[in-house]
Symmetry: C2
Subunit: 380 residues, 2 copies
């Protein structure tokens, strides 16, 4: 197993009604005024907003509300909220929502102390400080509730880029699976595919990381089983809870231990999809690109790809496992090729160009532009 | 899945030569003088002590050395070291060793701010503050390097009791598996059995905790496989590393998520063994008591015991799995009954009495004195 460092200081409160403890936690941390960041309004339906307001009032914590963060969140919105946080002199951020809201909140928390947050995404500046961040998660997918990563899209340059910093781990995250009982099936599936993709980004890096690979086999099987259960019965609280915790673990550091930081080519290529077509759900894009990537890569590390085929899909070979993976994605009602995502063959050159903008593409194997093109044709 | 809170702020530096970063980390934390706590001297052979001295000197950090912590560490020794820490005005503790050394160091770090540390073990006082604790692990077993637990024996009263507090999580732990390459086989096995026992204390609490149970299946299989590999080849660095990380995860909070705090009857009963016979290795004692406990308990929760039998041992039933578990322990050269531990039938009444001293015994089922007696006779 390769050497690694592990550090994850986020406190998790998991379970029904756990948000009611948020006010007391903020009080304990001597915080008197927060900026609440939210999306389009689903938190009014699922109960998270009401629970937030109640615990703030109960503990007499002042809050400013800001709504309207969208899927594939933008730099523009983050900049607007940084100005708001400064103007309002808040002491902390509370993000209520999914990965887009939390990623935006991380940019706000750190951008508060910087001249220009985008400079960090461009690797021209470093985060040295951030406002404390608290989250109430309402869709399990990105793992952002328990990691130090954030991805934003610069809509001017069509760059969807990510950063990581120890300073932007949420101090505390509430994961109450009951907020997710009203999620449309497609969003549950997108979340599951995103979580599986996070595990897959690490999985193939080193066959010798036995502990992590064993955990990653198990997490994938659990995510698949729980998603099946939820599509059969969206009110299955137990499946909802297990899917939520598995998705958090899929990108909280644990799934990458000893796996050299992961590959991330698929994520970077998928980011080019959503930078181009902001309506493409991240999970759906990954569900198209990953099976193709596995086909494309399997011969270079057959041992670990065969392990995956056997342990996750009970398959005797990689082709069979990829077929079962695609069948599952299809059964979940999600696209299995670029056409179903609404991408046409003529988009491919621009997707290749946008994918190659990243400083490097792939770790298991460095991707060239012609590799990306071949991969996209396979996914087409 | 049951509600839970999760928090684990320990930073892990894992891999060969990672101890060389300790001085820089202490410096970053503005620490100029530490108390080093160690055991009988094996750290002079395995290289950990030399690496510690080198990094302290390199970063000009002053240190006081204290040696002689023994297996089944005592309250007496902890009290002596608390006095030393106060007298020497140290700013942090560095524990170099296994669970006994680290557990003692936790008592010292917190006892530094208390009138009497034993009052915490007696539930008459609470830890509000502790000196920062850094560890260099030299035997993987207890998980103490990444949790907030400590167990000490009061040799006057023959009470071996444990406590837990967020304040005594190590701030940083170095896990360099190469320090363990010189461990005698029996110690590797004791460590493996201790780690398996930690997982088993949680495992049977709730069949609905799918994510955790999947991880726990995988951790057990990995520990068993790696121990087999190490007994065949003690220099197998890869197996050593995997066993080390699996043992850390076995008791860092992850293996207990959604499992209501675990059962812990076996640990409490085993503690009565070692309070009575301090030479009985904790892991060996657990290896005797756990198979018997599983036989004793299986009928009360057959579904989850059957899951364990199938997923960990590939067995079709619980009796077969217990047999395979005992066969494995025997193949590893460890005792499988009380007699082989050096306990005679006439000791049993005192063991029952000492086991029942704990405020409660067992969670899956509350054990009475006659339950303990029946269990011990089964293990005899």
């Amino acid at each position: 197993m390769k050497a690694f460092n592990f550090f994850n200081p986020t406190r998790i409160l998991f379970g029904k009604d756990k948000a009611e403890n948020l006010g007391a936690e903020l009080k304990k941390d001597c915080i008197a005024k927060v900026l609440m960041i939210a999306g389009g309004g689903s938190i009014r339906q699922n109960g998270a907003y009401a629970d937030f307001v109640k615990t703030m009032q109960e503990h007499k914590i002042d809050f400013v509300e800001s709504w309207g963060v969208q899927a594939n969140p933008t730099l523009e919105k983050a900049r607007e909220l940084i100005e708001l946080a400064k103007r309002e002199n808040v002491q902390a951020i509370v993000a209520i929502g999914g990965g887009s809201v939390i990623d935006t909140a991380k940019a706000v928390a750190s951008g508060y102390y910087l001249e220009d947050i985008w400079a960090v995404y461009q690797r021209k500046a470093v985060i040295r400080e951030a406002l404390p961040l608290y989250t109430i998660l309402t869709i399990s997918a990105t793992g952002s509730e328990m990691n130090g990563n954030t991805v934003l899209t610069n809509t001017e340059t069509l760059q969807k880029w990510g950063i990581g910093s120890e300073k932007i781990y949420p101090r505390l995250s509430v994961i109450d699976p009951s907020y997710q009982r009203t999620l449309p099936a497609a969003q549950t599936v997108n979340g599951a595919l995103d979580a599986i993709a996070h595990i897959l980004e690490f999985y193939f890096m080193d066959p010798d990381a036995c502990v992590t690979l064993g955990i990653n086999d198990s997490l994938q099987c659990t995510i698949i089983e729980m998603t099946d259960r939820l599509l059969a019965d969206p009110q299955d609280f137990s499946a909802r809870a297990s899917l939520a915790w598995a998705a958090t673990l899929a990108l909280n550091g644990l799934s990458g231990v000893g796996l050299a930081g992961g590959d991330w080519a698929c994520h970077q290529i998928e980011h080019s999809f959503s930078a181009l077509h902001p309506r493409i759900a991240h999970g759906a894009g990954l569900g198209v690109i990953f099976p193709a990537w596995i086909e494309f890569m399997a011969e270079r590390q057959p041992a670990v790809f065969n392990r995956w085929a056997k342990n996750v899909w009970g398959a005797s070979g990689i082709s069979e496992a990829v077929m079962l993976f695609r069948d599952k994605i299809k059964a979940w009602g999600s696209p299995t090729n670029l056409r179903e995502l609404g991408i046409s063959e003529s988009d491919i050159p621009l997707l290749v160009e946008k994918s190659m903008i990243a400083p490097r593409l792939g770790a298991l194997s460095r991707f060239t532009a012609s590799d990306v093109e071949a991969l996209l044709m396979l996914a087409f």
